[in-house]
């Protein structure tokens, strides 16, 4: 506020302010909502030459979403566009050439990555996501096992019209309710890529055929015949920025046991008093501790897991009320968890030579100078590690049923 004097400066200043406000108030960067194309899902694949990037995007079609007279209940809620470029940005520019509206990435909650692209390395994609203003750091990255991201983007989901929302829902449910997957945001992946002694894991989906018949004419626009859907396939395992293999859903749960990050989970145990009988147990609490000691530069890894579980259901099950029956069930559960964990260790550490457990990170944090000495040969050192798994299970209660008669 100008308070001083009767000079002409305040009036001049006010005039200048209004001229500036009208003429230079950011009109260069204006975004009108009717000019925007909202990308809801992004797919990245490797081009046929192996050097190029294929970018596929879902652009929202708001007009198709209404349930009223103007709505089209069978119409796809998204339009699919695709383009090839040397980099993600170039492919993006080429897609933009085909769109009547300006691309905005902020609503792209899912970035699907085809297996071929991931095996070639995700550096370029992460660079694009980090540099660009519009994509969100919170977007989730999803691998497509055994297929291209573009194939996943053709998939439909019977109970959810928006594919990105369906995929997000599937991964979230699998992460929290069965622990067979894990949500990995762009920021998580970037952070892990730059972390010493920790390799990236990323949620994986695989395509699931839904019907024998092929899509009919117009299926590109309508979803009356759903031929392909998708389901959780565990996690993709990386070595540095390249995909090197997979953990299936059970091995993924094994990884969550080791990390102590299990959500809800149902495990099977053999019924102690019935041949072929099976008992489902719900894990209610989990504690996990990983210790690493070195003997002549060869690590000895000790994984101690403590779980508390309750009985979810029992098939062909006589009484589980006796302390002995519960004890036997606990032993069975311990064996089952140990097998899952060992399977995860075998595939990740020995076969894929990937430190998805962050054992190198643990060493780096406790003894950074030793880590610097060992980091170059860390994968080989880890492969030779002796791993011991100790599981202690406690079945605390039998849920709402005292006895199965």
């Amino acid at each position: 506020m100008i308070t001083s004097g009767s000079s002409s400066i305040p009036r001049l200043a006010t005039a200048v302010f209004f001229i500036l406000a009208v003429s230079i108030s950011g009109c260069w960067s204006r975004r009108e909502i009717e000019d925007l194309a909202f990308v809801t899902m992004t797919g990245i694949d490797l081009g046929e030459s192996g050097d190029e990037v294929v970018l596929t995007i879902h652009v929202s079609k708001p007009a198709a979403g209404g349930d009223g007279p103007l709505g089209q209940p069978d119409a796809r809620l998204v339009a699919t566009y695709s383009a090839v470029g040397a980099t993600v940005a170039e492919a993006s520019a080429k897609v933009a050439d085909r769109l009547p509206r300006r691309i905005t990435w902020a609503h792209s909650t899912i970035v699907a990555v085809g297996e071929d692209f991931a095996r070639a390395g995700i550096d370029g994609l992460m660079d694009f996501l980090a540099r660009s203003q519009s994509p969100r750091e919170t977007a989730f990255l999803v691998l497509v096992k055994g297929a291209r991201a573009a194939d996943l983007m053709e998939a439909e989901f019977p109970s959810e019209r928006l594919p990105s929302a369906a995929i997000m829902g599937i991964i979230e449910r699998a992460t929290h309710e069965s622990s067979t997957c894990s949500l990995t945001s762009a920021n998580d992946v970037r952070r892990q890529l730059e972390t010493h002694g920790l390799d990236v894991v990323m949620a994986a989906l695989e395509l699931r055929p839904m019907a024998e018949e092929q899509s009919t004419e117009g299926a590109e626009l309508l979803r009356d015949v759903i031929t392909t859907s998708a389901e959780v396939a565990g996690l993709g395992v990386f070595r540095e920025s390249r995909l090197v293999g997979w953990l299936n859903p059970v091995q993924t749960r094994g990884l969550q046991f080791i990390r102590g990050q299990l959500g809800d989970a149902i495990l099977q145990a053999t019924h102690p008093a019935s041949q072929g009988g099976s008992v489902s147990l719900r894990v209610t609490q989990l504690g996990s501790r990983v210790k690493m000691t070195f003997i002549d530069d060869i690590p000895e890894i000790s994984i101690a897991i403590e779980v508390a579980a309750s009985i979810a259901d029992a098939r062909d099950a006589p009484s589980l009320n006796s302390p002995e029956a519960i004890r036997n069930l606990q032993h069975s559960l311990e064996g089952s968890i140990r097998a899952e964990v060992m399977s995860t260790v075998e595939i990740a550490v020995r076969e894929l030579q990937s430190d998805v457990f962050g054992l190198g990170l643990q060493l780096y944090r406790s003894n950074p100078r030793r880590w610097l000495q060992l980091s170059d040969q860390w994968r080989e050192i880890l492969r030779q590690a002796e791993v011991r798994v100790e599981v202690s299970a406690a079945i605390s209660y039998s849920s709402l049923l005292l006895e199965n008669k």
Partner: protein, 365 residues
């Protein structure tokens, strides 16, 4: 209320805003660290180093209380010393204002509105600041008193909303791969921005209580130190080893912040913080430079200098830095040397002024 003096609370608010503004824009310290965790040690060292400097400067400034520096300089030696402090601080404040404007302009342009020329943001903020300077320091003080709590609240809000994405494990290990030399540039960076609090030298004569300048300056260092450490912890925990490759840390943090799945895009909050912080901070620095010129040349008022200095720093901001990379390079190179050298000389001069005037006062008593 039309008090012509700045209260202690307003002084703390002003100093906090001046120091925190660079932190909310481009926290270059975190670009200088070999491993991000070192940033915490650098913060502690840089902030601690600034305590004696600001104490001396505030004390030297307090001698001018109740009088303009020109009138107060009736004695011989300290008159020249105080003039020398002004000679050093005028270009220093103008450089700091230039950096603030350039940083906010480049931040807006890089992060949000790439099509809009940088000069648009710089010119508007410089204009607002120059207007505030013309209105006097008490107006800037009142502005800060209102805005600083909001800025602090906004920063804490963003930190709080990022809590689900934090991994405190990334705060370990704190070690120096190449020895203590790893700490030199980051600590120097923190210290160089802490020297902005030397603005208290110009503010001290305008305080309603002469002694409060020292206490309030130390309180401001404490508050900003805590805020800087909290922000540093949150940023390192959120981005891990990627921290030192990111530009605009607080803004990037705001991009990851969310309240459930329904309330996102908190970068808008950061835009507000940038605008408010940069405008007020530039106003204080321009005002301090104008006051320095007034003292040096025994002018009656500094108000007419506001627009001229505003135009000068606008021109320097636009032409001096072509990109964020230029800015980071300058902030981690020449600026550290310049700010540290200026601070060192000002500290010595301030100590001399304090001793000379202290002795004279004892003799008078």
């Amino acid at each position: 209320m039309t008090s012509t003096k700045v209260s202690g609370r307003q002084l703390v608010a002003l100093l906090v805003l001046v120091r925190m503004t660079p932190q909310t824009l481009n926290c270059t310290t975190l670009n200088a660290v070999v491993i991000p965790q070192i940033g915490l040690v650098a913060d502690a060292i840089g902030v601690t180093m600034s305590v004696p400097l600001i104490y001396l400067v505030a004390k030297a400034g307090a001698w001018n209380h109740g009088d303009t520096a020109a009138k107060g300089m009736s004695a011989t030696i300290d008159r020249y010393l105080a003039a020398a402090v002004n000679v050093l601080l005028i270009p220093y404040f103008l450089t700091a204002a230039t950096m603030t404007l350039a940083s906010v302009g480049l931040s807006f342009s890089t992060a949000i509105m790439p099509e809009t020329p940088v000069i648009v943001f710089i010119a508007i903020i410089a204009f607002l600041s120059a207007n505030a300077v013309r209105s006097g320091v008490e107006v800037i003080g009142r502005l800060s008193e209102t805005l600083t709590p909001l800025v602090v609240l906004a920063l804490l809000l963003i930190a709080g909303l990022s809590i689900n994405r934090l991994d405190l494990g990334y705060l370990r290990p704190i070690f120096l791969p190449n020895g203590f030399q790893d700490l030199v540039t980051p600590s120097g960076s923190v210290f160089s921005f802490s020297t902005l609090l030397m603005v208290v030298y110009a503010l001290a004569p305008h305080l309603d209580s002469p002694k409060s300048g020292i206490t309030c300056s130390l309180l401001a260092i404490l508050i900003t130190g805590l805020l800087i450490v909290v922000m540093c912890i949150v940023i390192i925990s959120a981005f891990g080893p990627a921290t030192n490759s990111i530009l605009l840390h607080a803004f990037t943090l705001a991009r990851t912040a969310s309240l459930g799945p329904f309330l996102q895009r908190f970068e808008v909050v950061m835009m507000a913080v940038w605008t408010v912080g940069a405008a007020t901070s530039t106003a204080v620095l321009l005002w301090a430079a104008a006051e320095g010129v007034k003292s040096l040349f025994a002018l009656r008022t500094s108000a007419p200098l506001a627009y001229a200095l505003g135009m000068l720093v606008t021109a320097l901001s636009v032409t001096g830095f072509r990109s964020e990379v230029d800015f980071v390079r300058f902030a981690l190179g020449a600026w550290i040397v310049y700010a540290t050298a200026t601070a060192a000389v000002v500290a010595i001069l301030s100590l001399s002024i304090t001793l000379i005037r202290g002795r004279r006062r004892q003799r008078t008593l």
